[in-house]
């Protein structure tokens, strides 16, 4: 009622408990910010609980799209690959995926699935021979130590690093200074907020290093004005998002810490491939020109059916969003996925991060003054077109695999296959890029269709090349 609301309007927030740089447990934060914490806890809710109780895993993408099994043949993703769900599940879902239980994964996996920064800091401080006590961990961000720790553990075994996270304090009694040990947490307040000011910030080394590479590239990035400013001022030192980005950019960057394409395995440190820019081709070019520390050519896996070394694309939401009209219009991830809602007299950001389609009113109608069903219809149309092209590209891709297998059975030489393998890698990368991106084309509708069109082109060029091989004709190299 009105009386209450008037009161709320005047009420300043009071820190009920102290939180610090070691507080990866969100609970105490929740005492200070009950509304945000309550929302945050709702991320356990998801549309998949229907499938048999809260503990059921979300639907398998492999079952819905059997061609994915062939796309990922020989790679962990062919064993288990599911729909994403709420943030609360991220750590548990990783722990139980067959990609982790059946395959040896690296510690870098935890970069995006656990509230790991205090652990990086602790290990980094130890590495640098500095005080790694809980009080020291709590005392400040200490970026140098965080990055040192990150580099130290990235290539270690998953289980080993998981144990390190568990044994790091997740809080500290502000009076006694006693550590609190509550185990590992999924993404938590401290990952996006400064504990003193509550300002949003980025903490992930992968992003901090990646965005600096991007700033140093010549990609125009019209949607990230602070990068342009930094360049205009002479590109001095490193581009530091936490001090240089606008608040609106930060409302995207916090998500760009994880919702990005990456390399994450044991041959080199976790990498975000942004040194040429954020377009699909820019990322591909970085992988094309990367060599592993042992000197070998970069690849993610050897495709089992064909023996070709290929790349795996993972959830490039930040990159695809960058090519879309919303990014160009300055609309951030948070505008849609964490829209403001009025709670009493105050506006808060919904910390129930989820599909905006579950919340069209707040997520879209602030800007689009049109009926809810119409907004839904527009999104459906974009996603249906994308889906249609994904299916088309998937047919082309599987036909390509058959053609290559047939060519190999017919005795094609490695020399003859070389240009075909190039086409295959390009085709698979493009298809995976859009299929693994989670908006089904919405984040950049025309760009998604363009990329799928190219995938079809390369798959079918490879098929023709195989057929020409069979006919003894010369095969042109991939353009």
């Amino acid at each position: 009622n009105i009386f209450e609301r008037k009161q709320e309007a005047r009420a300043p927030f009071t820190k009920v408990v102290e939180v610090s740089e070691v507080s990866s447990d969100p609970e105490p934060w929740g005492l200070n910010f009950p509304q945000q914490y309550e929302d945050y806890l709702k991320t356990v809710d998801d549309p998949y609980t229907d499938f048999g109780g809260n503990h059921a895993l979300p639907p398998s993408k492999l079952e819905v799209n059997p061609w994915l099994v062939r796309l990922f043949a020989g790679y962990a993703f062919s064993k288990d690959y599911r729909e994403a769900r709420g943030h609360a599940h991220m750590l548990a879902d990783q722990e139980v995926t067959k990609r982790v239980t059946d395959v040896q994964q690296s510690g870098a996996c935890l970069h995006c699935h656990a509230s790991i920064i205090p652990t990086y800091r602790r290990i980094g401080l130890e590495k640098l021979g500095k005080d790694a006590s809980v009080a020291s961990l709590a005392s400040g961000f200490q970026q140098e130590a965080v990055i040192a720790g990150f580099q130290e553990v990235s290539q270690k075994k998953y289980e080993e690093v998981h144990a390190e996270v568990e044994k790091t304090a997740d809080g500290m009694d502000p009076i006694s200074g006693d550590p609190h040990l509550g185990g590992a947490h999924p993404v938590s307040c401290i990952d996006c907020h400064d504990p003193d000011t509550m300002q949003i910030r980025v903490t992930r080394p992968g992003f901090i290093l990646g965005i600096d590479k991007l700033a140093k590239s010549d990609d125009p990035v019209p949607h990230l004005p602070s990068i342009k400013q930094w360049r205009d001022k002479g590109s001095k030192g490193n581009y530091d998002p936490n001090t240089m980005a606008s608040r609106q950019e930060m409302r995207t960057f916090v998500c760009g810490q994880c919702h990005v394409e990456y390399y994450c395995a044991n041959k080199m440190t976790l990498t975000f491939p942004w040194s040429n820019g954020l377009k699909m081709e820019d990322l591909e070019a970085e992988w094309d020109s990367t060599n592993f520390p042992d000197g070998g050519e970069f690849y993610d896996y050897v495709h089992k059916e064909t023996g070709t070394k290929v790349y795996k694309a993972q959830h490039p939401e930040f990159e695809l969003w960058s090519q879309g009209i919303h990014a160009r219009s300055g609309v951030s991830c948070s505008d849609c996925h964490m829209p403001y809602e009025k709670v009493g007299a105050t506006k808060v950001s919904s910390h129930w991060v989820r599909s905006p389609m579950m919340n069209i009113n707040k997520a879209c109608q602030t800007c689009h003054n049109i009926p809810e069903e119409e907004i839904k219809a527009r999104v459906d149309l974009i996603q249906d077109r994308t889906k249609g092209l994904i299916d088309r590209a998937a047919s082309a891709m599987t036909e390509m695999l058959d053609a290559i297998i047939a060519a190999q059975e017919a005795g094609a030489t490695e020399e003859q296959l070389a240009p075909i393998r190039k086409l295959q890698r390009k085709a698979m990368w493009r298809l995976d890029y859009i299929a693994s991106e989670n908006s089904k084309g919405f984040h950049a509708s025309q760009e998604s269709a363009r990329i799928l069109g190219e995938s079809i082109d390369y798959s079918r060029q490879a098929i023709a090349a195989c057929l020409k091989l069979a006919a003894g004709e010369p095969v042109a190299t991939a353009e």
């Binding site: 009622n1 009386f3 309007a9 602030t366």
Partner: protein, 175 residues
């Protein structure tokens, strides 16, 4: 802003009888009757809210009175940035310029906003209802009818485009 320099008054000076359409007169007859009964029935429920929430501010022309309800804050803030803040206050756009409908709409909206605000459950962002959309359209036309003369229908009873189809930001871009 001085009382006598309010743009709506300038506007009503300029306005001529052509805008008081016969259709509107008829609608008022029936609508006002039903409305009066409804108001009577619900008066008791609404009175406390209306008073406490400074519902009487509806009777004033001061935009400040609208933001007694914080749900109007976004509109207020962006109205201050808008092209119209020095020429039109909220009521210039949200109340019909014809003298009778003006008071009916005032009472109607004042009452229902108070009710909605108290009970909650309204859409956020607020969505304007068709009836009130027609009010804003009519006020644009009232102030600008000379300028937009060619946009008016060529024949009586014809339709015309919505001004905010193109000028969505004039009153307040924010919501």
């Amino acid at each position: 802003m001085k009382e006598d320099s309010r743009p709506d008054e300038q506007a009503s000076e300029r306005s001529d009888s052509t805008l008081v359409s016969p259709t509107r007169g008829r609608r008022f007859g029936k609508g006002a009757f039903v409305f009066a009964i409804f108001l009577g029935l619900l008066f008791g429920v609404g009175t406390f809210t209306f008073g406490y929430g400074k519902g009487a501010s509806y009777l004033s022309n001061n935009p400040q009175s609208c933001v007694n309800c914080h749900v109007m804050q976004g509109h207020m803030d962006s109205w201050q940035q808008s092209s119209h803040h020095h020429v039109a206050v909220c009521n210039d756009c949200h109340l019909p310029h014809d003298p009778i409908m003006k008071w009916v709409t005032k009472a109607d909206n004042g009452f229902f906003h108070s009710l909605a605000f108290t009970m909650g459950g309204f859409k956020d962002p607020i969505q304007i209802k068709e009836r009130n959309r027609n009010v804003t359209q009519s006020t644009c036309i009232d102030c600008h009818k000379d300028f937009v003369h060619p946009l008016l229908p060529a024949t009586n009873g014809g339709d015309m485009q919505s001004c905010i189809h193109c000028h969505a930001d004039v009153g307040h871009a924010g919501r």
